[in-house]
């Protein structure tokens, strides 16, 4: 192994997995779309963390490039998502996701 480190890879992965799980549970359980967005960001950054960790341990730049890609997409997604939330709030005066069920079968 080219890089010697005091912190082993597994720890990073554990932190990443925990962050991802917190994010996923947040998406599933919270009703405020802003919080859901934050949870999604948490999931994305959990993945970013594991990318960076792998990149460091495998000694390649590929993972870091992916992180930039993910950051860009996440930023774009937040723009669209916030715009949606604003316009939903303007029409309904309420943004509880459980009340948005007009497409129910």
């Amino acid at each position: 192994m080219a890089v010697t480190s005091s912190v082993p890879l597994v720890w990073y992965l554990i932190v990443s997995a925990v962050m991802f799980a917190i994010g996923a549970l947040g998406v599933l359980m919270r009703r405020n779309p802003l919080v859901i967005f934050m949870s999604i960001e948490l999931m994305l950054n959990a993945v970013n963390l594991s990318f960076v960790a792998f990149s460091r341990f495998l000694d390649t730049a590929d993972g870091q490039m992916f992180v930039f890609l993910v950051l860009t997409v996440a930023a774009a997604e937040v723009v669209v998502g916030l715009a949606l939330i604003v316009s939903i709030f303007r029409t309904r005066r309420d943004i509880d996701v459980d009340d948005m069920n007009m497409l129910r079968g």
């Binding site: 998406v27 599933l28 996701v97 459980d98 069920n101 497409l103 129910r104 079968g105």
Partner: protein, 657 residues
């Protein structure tokens, strides 16, 4: 020799396009200028080509040019080509010449009709189609012309579509004609299979590729004859022609007397090598021709509508033409076609003049005594009546007697007694023709005018409804016209009558003694001479019989036409046209309608189709009720499903390694 077929063809087409697109905005004079111009130029080119044909040796009088390669696909090659030979020349002169006269006449007859421009657009379209039919050099373009003249006929019969009778008549004509078109198509398929080409030249130069008298040869000829019988109103496909009289009278004269209905006669003459290759088919042609001639003549005896008499007379005369072709004397058939075009067009135009003068009256019971009021019509009508009755020296005499002579000659040569029967039928028909034509003539022109006095016959409610609608279209009844209000038709209508009368007198000299027509057509149709003694016997008998017919008519009707109810069984049978229409209704139309109703409302539509489609719809509805439960509308449910899916995928890859 030049070949101007394309020029004859193109003018009426241009006229049709111009009138069809701009007719609505053109003035009356503009419409006439376009329509007459198109037809007139066409006639001039046909005439010029005919004259240039006379200038070359008989053997060189045929020109076959290809204008356009339409379809080229290995063995199938279809070209648009023009065949110009003596037969084409004669047909084109008749079509464009009589067509031009009728274009002129129509200007007077259709005066004041709100659809003036539409009428002339259709007429030009008809001339174009008919010219296409005649100048085509292969069977496919013949079929195209064949179908297009049928369409033109449909459009013109139904010209006054605001009334129900013309619409029904137009549909009837179209349906019967399509039966013929089907026959022609099947014949073309057989020709292509057996000859590998559709060009006249290829087929006719190699006609014995199919053994003479074989089943295939007979089938080809008979299928062609089915087409001819439908187009030329022969038994058993004649029913549409009497009904076609619902169209304007110039149309009856042009399409249903002079030109379109003779297309069948033309086709038999054009394809005579194919018929000669199938003797059985020729017997059929002769038999059907003779039977139709007699059958239609008997119906014409007691009809009361002036145009119906002429319609049945047309069917009968077409029967004569087929009779001539059936005994192998094609020249006589074409000869009678030509003279018939003159005198029958004249008869119809004369009838049109009478109808016009009487404000739409067609019932002969309400005519009579018109001699003093319509002198030009009287004299021209007399000439045409003499011509159709076959009295010398009028044109009908020469052509009819060359047909009868040919039939007798065939009987003498072959010794087949059926040909004697055919000749006898022809003679009998000649007598009947003279009788019913003079019945019509005396009834209309002699005696006293009955228009204002006759009490209307029993009328059904349906007829009264029709009369109400009639006000809006056609030559509506303006009530009976007073005798002194009847006026001779304007010059634009009487001039064509006079020209046709002159042609009806001199037209016969085409076949006079040394027979120039025979010589002219000989490059196409082999000349057939009837020995003089046989000709004389036949002529003497037929003229005698015709005179008897005229005498009987004179005794019965010289004081004008008196209608008496007659309950004689035979009379009723003939008066009701042998109940053919009623039988058709019973045998064909009622059952087909019944089956349609059964399908429409009964078992199939109700139990099979309806329940089937309803059942299918229910299956889908049930499935969708189940599926819609998945759509809860709670976003977090969807997110959970997505997550579970992702987890499943991860597990799958983790387990697979």
């Amino acid at each position: 020799m030049v070949n101007l077929g394309l020029w004859v063809l193109i003018w009426p087409l241009l006229g049709f396009i111009i009138l069809g697109l701009l007719g609505r905005v053109l003035t009356r004079g503009g419409i006439l200028r376009v329509a007459w111009g198109a037809c007139g130029l066409s006639f001039l080119f046909a005439l010029f080509n005919f004259l240039s044909m006379l200038g070359v040796a008989p053997a060189a009088r045929s020109s076959d040019v290809t204008v356009y390669n339409w379809i080229v696909s290995s063995t199938l090659q279809v070209n648009f080509g023009l065949l110009y030979d003596p037969l084409t020349a004669i047909m084109l002169l008749v079509v464009t010449g009589v067509g031009l006269l009728i274009h002129i006449y129509s200007a007077g007859y259709m005066e004041g009709d709100p659809s003036f421009w539409r009428f002339f657009a259709y007429l030009n379209f008809f001339i174009f189609s008919m010219v296409l039919l005649v100048v085509a050099n292969n069977f496919l373009f013949l079929l195209m012309g064949w179908g297009l003249v049928g369409l033109a006929s449909f459009l013109l019969i139904g010209f006054w579509y605001q009334r129900s009778a013309p619409v029904a008549a137009a549909q009837k004509a179209f349906v019967v004609n399509v039966i013929g078109d089907l026959g022609l198509m099947l014949a073309i398929f057989l020709l292509f299979i057996n000859y590998g080409s559709l060009n006249y030249q290829d087929v006719f130069s190699d006609v014995h590729k199919v053994a003479a008298g074989s089943a295939t040869a007979t089938a080809i000829a008979l299928l062609l004859f089915v087409a001819c019988a439908a187009k030329s109103a022969q038994l058993p496909l004649y029913m549409w022609l009497p009904d076609a009289m619902e169209g304007p009278t110039p149309v009856s004269a042009l399409i249903h007397a002079a030109t379109m209905v003779t297309a069948g006669v033309y086709l038999v003459a054009r394809a005579h090598l194919l018929f000669a290759n199938a003797p059985v088919a020729l017997y059929v042609v002769a038999g059907i021709g003779g039977a139709t001639a007699l059958f239609a003549a008997t119906i014409a005896l007691f009809q009361l509508d002036i145009k119906r008499v002429l319609a049945y007379s047309t069917i009968s005369q077409l029967g004569y033409m087929f009779m001539a072709e059936g005994v192998g004397n094609y020249t006589s058939g074409i000869f009678h076609l030509t003279t018939h075009a003159y005198f029958k067009a004249l008869l119809f135009l004369g009838a049109g003049a009478i109808i016009h003068a009487l404000a739409g009256e067609q019932d002969m019971r309400k005519m009579g005594g018109l001699r003093q009021r319509l002198p030009i019509t009287f004299w021209t009508f007399l000439i045409a009546t003499l011509a159709i009755s076959g009295l010398p020296p009028f044109s009908g005499f020469w052509s009819k007697d060359s047909i009868l002579g040919a039939a007798l000659q065939e009987a003498v040569v072959t010794g087949n007694r059926w040909f004697y029967v055919l000749w006898g039928v022809g003679i009998l028909t000649a007598g009947l023709t003279a009788f019913y034509m003079f019945r019509l003539f005396f009834g209309v022109f002699l005696g006293n005018y009955r228009g204002a006095t006759v009490v209307p016959a029993r009328r059904t409610e349906e007829e009264e409804d029709e009369d109400e609608q009639e006000e809006s279209a056609g030559h509506g009844h303006g009530g009976p016209v007073g005798y002194y209000d009847i006026h001779e038709v304007p010059a634009v209508m009487s001039m064509p009558l006079v020209i046709l009368a002159i042609l009806s007198v001199i037209g016969g000299f085409l076949g006079f003694v040394w027979n120039p027509l025979n010589g002219f057509l000989s490059p196409v149709l082999e000349a057939s001479e009837t020995p003089l003694n046989i000709d004389l016997i036949s002529t003497a008998v037929s003229v005698a019989v015709a005179l008897v017919g005229i005498l009987v008519a004179w005794r019965l009707y010289r004081k004008g036409f008196v209608y008496k109810e007659n309950n004689n069984l035979l009379y009723q049978l003939v008066f009701h046209k042998y109940y053919v229409d009623e039988m058709c209704n019973m045998i064909l139309i009622k059952p087909i309608l019944g089956i349609g109703r059964l399908i429409g409302t009964g078992f199939i539509e109700g139990s099979v189709l309806d329940s089937g489609s309803r059942g299918l719809a229910r299956v889908f509805r049930e499935i969708s009720v189940l599926l819609r439960r998945l759509q809860t509308g709670y976003m977090r449910n969807y997110a959970l499903v997505i997550l579970l899916g992702a987890v499943l995928i991860v597990i799958y890859y983790a387990v697979r390694g």
